[in-house]
Structures are given as C-alpha cells and as structure tokens.
Symmetry: C3
Subunit: 139 residues, 3 copies
Amino acid sequence: MKSITKYLTFHTEKRFKLINITPEIEKIVRESAVNEGICLVNSMHITSSIFINDDEIGLLQDFEKWLENLAPHAPTEQYLHNDTGEDNADAHLKRQIMGRETVIAITKGKLDFGPWEQIFYGEFDGCRNKRILVKVVGE
Amino acid sequence: MKSITKYLTFHTEKRFKLINITPEIEKIVRESAVNEGICLVNSMHITSSIFINDDEIGLLQDFEKWLENLAPHAPTEQYLHNDTGEDNADAHLKRQIMGRETVIAITKGKLDFGPWEQIFYGEFDGCRNKRILVKVVGE
Amino acid sequence: MKSITKYLTFHTEKRFKLINITPEIEKIVRESAVNEGICLVNSMHITSSIFINDDEIGLLQDFEKWLENLAPHAPTEQYLHNDTGEDNADAHLKRQIMGRETVIAITKGKLDFGPWEQIFYGEFDGCRNKRILVKVVGE
C-alpha cells in the first residue's frame, strides 16, 4: 500500500470565498503514483468546507446567497457562540451544509470524475491562513 | 490490496426521484471478493446525491417536500445560474444538503450496516442518463 | 493491509444530544497500530450523525436551535413518515444536514487533525441504544 499526505494553505481576502482547487489535487495524485485507490481531501478547520460541484460563476454566487439565507452572519448576537467574542458562528453552520471532506476514487492513476465534477475549497470565515489535508492511499 | 470499480447508469422519468440502490451495491461487493475494506459510492453528476437513510415511503415524500422548501425549483429566475439557459440551480443546492458520496465499511465480506441503513440515489434533475461510481478497496 | 472494526453504543437521556467522542476514536486508532491510512466513523442508525466541528458549549446550543428551525420536530403531523406511528421524521432530516459519517486521515499513527477538529456523535432521536461503527484501514 502506498500513501502520500500533503497540506495546502489558503488565505482569502474576503470572509466568504469558493475556490476551485482541482488542479492542485490532480498534481498530488500524479505525484503519489497511486493507480487504484482513494483520495481524501478535507478542511482542517471547522469554519470551511471541501465539496464537489460545478464551476459556474452564477452558481457560485447562488451558493453564497443561499447559505447566507440558511445560516445568516448577522445579527451576530443571535448565536450563543459569538458571546465568546468571536463573530463566526454562522461559518460553523454553513460548513455543516457544505461538508468537511470528500473521498474521490482514483482509477488508472487519475481522479475518476464525471464531466462537471470540480473540487472546491469553501471559505466561510477567511482573511487568515487555513489549511486543508490531502491524503492518497492505494497501489 | 484488491480493488474493483463499477459504473451504474440511471435515467429517471421524473425530475425528482429517490431510488434504493442497496441490492446493486451488495452485488458489486460480493463480486469484489473483498473481506475487509471500504466501499465508496458517489454520484458522478453535480445535481444528484448518494445518501443513506430509511426506505419508508412517507419519509421519501417528506424529503422531497423538505428539500423543495429549503432549495425551491421555482421561480427559476431567483438563481443566477439559470441565466445560462439551464433551470437546475435548485438541484445543485439540494445535492449539497443530501451529499455527493458515502463510504461504507466492508466487514467479513459484507456491507457493515445497521438494521435500517439503505443506500439511495437521489436524483434532483432527472429525465436523462446519469452515472454513479462504486469503488471497493480492501483485502 | 491492516484493519480493525469496533462498535460503540450510546444511550442518551434526551432526544437531542451532541457528544464529543474524540477520545474513544483516538483509543481505537492507537489499538489498530495503523501508521498511515484512514479511519471511517459512521452512525449505524438513520436518525443520528457523525460530524466534525468545534467543542464549544455555546456553539452546540446554536446547532440545536438552528437544526430545530430547519427541520422542526413539531407539529409532528406535518410529516407523512409520522403516520407510521413514529414521531421522528425530523431526526431523519436533521441527520442529512449533519451527515452520516466522517473519514479521517491517519498520519504517523494519529488522527491527522487541525487544532479545533473534534468528532461528535449527534443524536436526534435518543433515549435508546444506538451504535456507531469505527473502521481503521491502512499499514
């Protein structure tokens, strides 16, 4: 069994940002030399997500509006968590809808994807360094 | 390490449909001859889901009503994505709530399930061919 | 390839309860003697979740209020599932938002976590025995 573990760091300029990270993950899969196996990609923070969806600019804006409606940032006093002095309770909730991680099949040395699958890093409380983990396991 | 990769195709008659695919996945696990390992099942499209829940007819109707309330199809103009000429933005959102994939333990050659766990394909933008991927990895 | 499979049982006194189970999972990872691999943790029931988020008391109360708003328990007659005589349709829905499972990287013999990641069992229909599955696979 082969395995490779990599950490990527993101620092967004805005609180909310969705970033297509597919090329970075493809590079790690090539480097792993795994032909058959799986690739785990997860956020190492609890106010951001890894998810797979379509890379379409209108849709990415729809996601932001929709998440803001389901888990609004303001008023920040609506959340007990924010009594700690933080203001990011909404980001902890948004992350549950969008998910922490994805597990992707590797077949014949590549991410085994449908035609529109793209991997996103979803940042809901940015403006600081945050990490994701990529682990490839297989043969 | 053994591995097996299979693709299943679904074509629903309605836009929204939840289909119990447990028997198809069990068949692939038997075929893999893996005794201890994991089984990844994921949608290869970004407007459908794989998820595990109970196979109870009333509950499946509750899911449809609930998802329609959280991410309504109409009015389609409420989503920027639909300016592309598509009308399926809601399906991209519904899929985030229900999830892309599941990872299931295989123990002693079988899906290691609790008494009510059933695997579903969740179609939110059907009436055309769509694929799922099944990958079994183990020994 | 090594693998280990364990089952943990929970019985909460309240219908809704979020329990930090990180120490129990760390113990199983140590016992597995796996250095590089993955750890799957999943609920074996369809009205509870495994998820990773922050262990902060205010946040845990925020989760309860937020989930109750997105998938309310009462009035129970709003759900067709409850015509079966059960009253837990909301728990089936809450579990979809919070997720069934998590897959965690194991690196150098430990759960490869960011600074605030904690594993939770999310019970949405408690007051009876329910099980989770932990499977470690690797080398």
